[in-house]
Amino acid sequence: MSILHDFEYYKPADIKSAVELLDKFGNKAKILAGGTDLVVQMKENIVTPDAVIDIKAIDKLNEISLDDETLFIGACVTFTELMESEIIQKYFPLIKDMSATVASMGIRNRATLVGNICSAVPSADSAPILLVYDAEVVIKSKSGERIIPIEQWFAGPKKTVRKDNELVTGVAIHLIKENHAGCYEKLGRYSGEDLAQAGICVLVFEDQIYHVAFCAVGPVPKRAEITEKFLNGKEITPEVIKQAKKLLLEEISPISDIRSSKEYRIHMMDVMFDRGMKKALNKLRGGTHV
């Protein structure tokens, strides 16, 4: 299968030139980082950009850095780089765990976390984690920089609030000082690589604050706000979990597709929430700082 349409390829060396190109081509441009989604979509004629802007030559976008207690993951950072990064391993092991669930090595060596949230498929593995950590999406355009809380990032299946002339340079996460623990549970059809049929991420804090986010069980990945509100301040008992599950199931809106039925997704969210909470609490009690 060849890519049938013609396009120009650009490889800007800095953010400024990238942004200028974006400004020029607008919705006729596609940004290329890992390419694991874009190239497939071009082959299948789903997107036919006039310009493909490869941003891998921009140094800043290849960085994982920790400044002022803020983690920055550049737009070209691959899942493998995240897994191998000492900063990630030390401060955000959950990101490492999640990255390990994404596809397989040959893809992780190329695919990026930022690309994952820019593609914005409902099953994006990176989303629930960024949601529970209140990450921010950092965006540059000719008119300057804009920061969008991840909660507001997803606008629908495969849609984000990014404007055509904007470049996502990375995501930022503020370091959490309080003791906490977390866990990402993902439903696949088998042990080998699979897209999430349902995914849930929970963070539990010592002071009985809970963050819960999900993917693949609604049009966009989301925080389970109602469930969180109910849980916050409560000691976790089987009864509390039972009630929380009810709320959670109301917050999700899974569909049946060729991968899973709606009923199974609902059932599995129930199971995974339960197991995820237990695992996270165990970690917290075990004193493992996530």
Binding site: T36, V39, S104
Partner: protein
């Protein structure tokens, strides 16, 4: 059309490419490197794996223009001066049946062993899980990688 220069199997190669050409197409159709195979053309099977700057990647998902100035190794490169230990071990273990998946598997195994000379069975499974093989049930491949790390 633009010209790219790559270090391919330790030899500098210059080739004219169109932006729409994938690395897999250029390797097979313009550079005479045919060990990477097209099994799915969308990143699912790993038959097209090559080492790009030492990491295994899907050459079907990479535009050839992207790799200008970079280093690529394929099974031709690995075999050039005699087979590697893991390849020898694969022969001894009758690891492959049809062998269509073999080049991709060897790339993944080579990357694994470069980074981790003493992998566990689980590490090996993880590293090879992006390579689909319909024939072997994987066991003889896993055993060959294990045997290659012994002694």
């Amino acid at each position: 059309m633009s010209e790219i220069k790559i270090l391919l199997n330790n030899e500098e190669r210059i080739v004219e490419v169109q932006p729409y050409e994938t690395l897999l197409e250029v390797l097979r159709e313009k550079l005479g490197v045919i060990s990477p195979k097209c099994g799915c053309d969308r990143g699912d099977c790993g038959a097209c794996n090559v080492l790009l700057n030492g990491r295994s990647v899907r050459s079907c998902l990479i535009l050839a223009v992207e790799v200008d100035g970079q280093e690529i190794i394929t099974v031709e490169g690995i075999s050039k001066d005699g087979l590697s230990k893991v390849q020898e071990s694969m022969i001894d273990n009758n690891s492959f049946q049809c062998g269509f998946c073999a080049p991709g598997v060897i790339i993944s195994a080579t990357e694994l062993l470069n980074n981790n000379p003493h992998p566990t069975r689980e590490d090996i499974k993880e590293a090879l899980s992006g390579n689909l093989c319909r024939c072997t049930g994987y066991l003889p491949i896993l055993e060959a990688v294990e045997n290659a790390t012994k002694e």
